[in-house]
Symmetry: C2
Subunit: 454 residues, 2 copies
């Protein structure tokens, strides 16, 4: 056993840990990153990246079929093998060696072990103990939560990991949970050929978003042929003979060749040695807006439970690195109001408050809604598809946008305008001078602002 | 001859005039619109809308061919007849009757005549004289400029009107002018089957944009097979036998079945009766930032020469209407810095200053460039296509973005984020907290801001 010293030790090399380590290395500190699995983490290999690689070809083919002149060129179907092969390329066949040079260029030492806290400023990594002169940053992320439903664990369900890396479309896929993972995987595998049953206990899908978003996604999934079971709980699971049966509280059953559990996430803090520094495991690690637990311990990304989104984890990684480098940095909006995109078709892109969350937060707000596709630019995009809805939630006391949601075909890159308006606190009065170009679909902003005048 | 009174008379029912009239009508004023040709104007029938309908199917088909899994479904080619037929649908076969109810609902009287000023607050329209109690708004737009090149006018060249409404792709098309109309039409008709020669006298295309934008568009057009003649002047044109020959100063010739002149625009003020109110015709009508010439005369859209863009004309229409309605309204950035999109592939989307224009304006600026496609989201869009460039021009004294340009595949809806940042004067420091969602291509912002730190 040897002891080695670094300025900073980062435990976990997902997006948050990587970004933090890189920024610290660029800032001149000596950094060790401890990661037993893949550099790049859940997002690169088992979540954001493979899921989008499964979704995008189908979305694009649906779009080309809507556009006269182009659709006539399409005679075939989605090539499922090619989609899966491109997915494998995107996740580098689960090989992360391509990331090693990026760390090495920044002088970052990679320790391929499981990291555990071992008292103040100490991290045990296999046989070694790493000692941090300045800080330890925990970035161990989350794993799929498997809820205590009778027979569920024994059925060895898919989590996001198997759902995003499966080598073939299962004939029948049952999905437990209609949150982001559930709806994206329902869309992806349905389009890739599976019969999909989606079970959601709440009365709507993607329940943290505006109600219309969940309704529009439900309608689209239904149209694709997904068997929707909304507002009904799973009571038991039975597996056997290569088949899994989910019993529902309404007395119905859902049968699948595979079962995906997509109920939520739990922080990876059970076996992290938190007790050696006087903290409890089993839940998120609470931090302040500097990502600090105390004067030497930081937690970034999913593991701090503030918001489970790759881009916000990377943002927190930058904040923590800046704080450790001695800057006065604080995170803003790294919570349920963070910008977020769901890559179904229609897509759902939102930032800031929903109307409900704003009211619950005690804000004096009103909403204005327009059809996302209700403008000249939409003549060329997403034609004949559901119109989608664009909503601004306006803080009437401050004259600012408190939140925005866009649903519709390929609205993902609409979002950043709203993000800048919300985070930049651009007054509504000034937004009227930010003119969207004709004929782009960004003219949705024009109609939203006109709606606010009415 | 009869005299009729209205609160406001709008001369010209293009986008600017329409929007202005509609807003005045909504504001409770009595309004007459005088238009001898089409309600909706050049943009709806002969410019923005038909050009995009010609471009979009080819762009989309190019994109689907880049994406594994989807591209295998494509075995055919662009269906030119279907593209042209959809174009005809977009321009309603040059029938504007669909717009009449929109005016009627707002109580706006449509006078289908050519309108001419006839002294203070008076407009002659056919046999009638219309008298304005409050204001006359001129919105007569521009027409294609035909430069005094020997033989050009006699050759009866296409302007944007014929180029956007042609019933078939000419076998050989020669285009004079590598501005926005020239490059868009070169791309459109090349993809639709024409042999295209593009002649530009300056040393680069779309010369008002960043140099890299023109270079990338030139490269893409070359790859499509457009015969590029850049930095060479046309000296004479000869037409005969169904063929047109353009003589070039380098001694070469360009031969076509059709010749499109896309050199620029001239304001429609020649036959407007400006002399009856003490003004000169033949050029733009100068206005202040309230769109006012004097206490009763306003000019909006192309005709005032401030910026020739539909969305800015509509914006000016809103400003003028608000001023006439008694509000304190002023236009901002309605000049060369206005947001603008060129719908080639790569697209060019820009707002605010270019690096050159900022320097010429005496600003202390620096630029940061990153590849538009240099992010995870680009794995799913525009793959294998030219990377494109994203540039921020930063005003170092003020800590603000003075301009932004994005080139690349389908970047049109990236622009509005930059427009809000520029017009909203969001400090760079605050922009670092406006986090783009992963994995969207909007992460280009992340790399731009990181580049600024370096």
């Amino acid at each position: 056993m040897s002891e080695r010293e670094f300025d900073v030790i980062v435990v976990g090399a997902g997006p948050a840990g990587e970004v933090c380590a890189g920024r610290l290395g660029d800032g001149g500190l000596s950094v060790a990153v401890v990661e037993e699995h893949l550099i790049g983490g859940e997002c690169s290999f088992y979540a954001c990246m493979p899921s989008k690689s499964l979704l995008r070809p189908g979305e694009l083919l649906a779009e080309v079929r809507r556009i006269p002149g182009a659709r006539e060129a399409v005679s075939g179907e989605l090539d499922v093998a090619a989609v899966l092969s491109r997915r494998d390329e995107i996740i580098h066949d689960l090989d992360d060696s391509g990331m090693e040079p990026w760390l090495a260029e920044r002088g970052i030492e990679l320790v391929r072990e499981r990291g555990r806290l071992d008292g103040e400023r100490r991290v045990r990594a296999g046989d070694d103990v790493l000692v941090a002169r300045r800080a330890v940053v925990v970035a161990t992320g989350t794993s799929a939560l498997v809820p205590p439903i009778e027979g569920l664990r024994e059925a060895e369900p898919w989590t996001n990991r198997e759902a995003t890396t499966a080598k073939a479309a299962p004939e029948r896929l049952v999905i437990l949970g209609g949150g982001v993972v559930g709806v994206e995987m329902a869309q992806a595998w349905r389009v890739l050929g599976s019969q999909v049953t989606l079970i959601e206990a709440a009365d709507r899908l993607i329940a943290r978003e505006e109600r219309f978003a969940g309704e529009q996604v439900a309608e689209a999934l239904s149209e694709l042929g997904v068997d929707m079971r909304i507002g009904v709980k799973a009571t038991a699971v039975r597996a056997g003979g290569g088949e899994v049966t989910v019993e529902l509280e309404d007395g119905m059953q859902a049968l699948g060749d595979e079962l995906l559990v997509a109920i939520g996430r739990r922080q990876n803090t059970d076996d992290l040695g938190l007790e050696t520094v006087g903290l409890e495991g089993g839940g998120p690690i609470e931090v302040d807006d500097r990502m600090a637990v105390n004067d030497w311990l930081y937690a970034i990304g999913d593991v701090n439970g503030r918001v489970l989104l790759t881009h916000m984890g990377k943002y927190q990684g930058r904040i923590a690195a800046d704080v450790i480098l001695g800057k006065d940095a604080h995170a803003m909006h790294d919570d349920g109001r963070s910008p977020r995109v769901i890559f179904t078709d229609p897509q759902v892109a939102a930032v800031g408050h929903t109307l409900d969350s704003a009211r619950q937060a005690g804000l004096s707000v009103r909403a204005v809604d327009v059809p996302t596709q209700g403008n000249a630019g939409a003549s060329f995009y997403g034609r004949d598809s559901a119109a989608g809805t664009a909503r601004l939630v306006v803080d009437e006391d401050r004259g600012l946008i408190a939140g925005a949601t866009f649903t519709g075909p390929e609205v993902q890159d609409f979002l950043h305008a709203a993000t800048i308006a919300v985070i930049g606190e651009v007054p509504i009065e000034r937004l009227a001078h930010a003119v969207p170009s004709f004929p782009t679909r960004s003219e949705v902003w024009l109609y939203l602002l006109e709606g606010l005048e009415a």
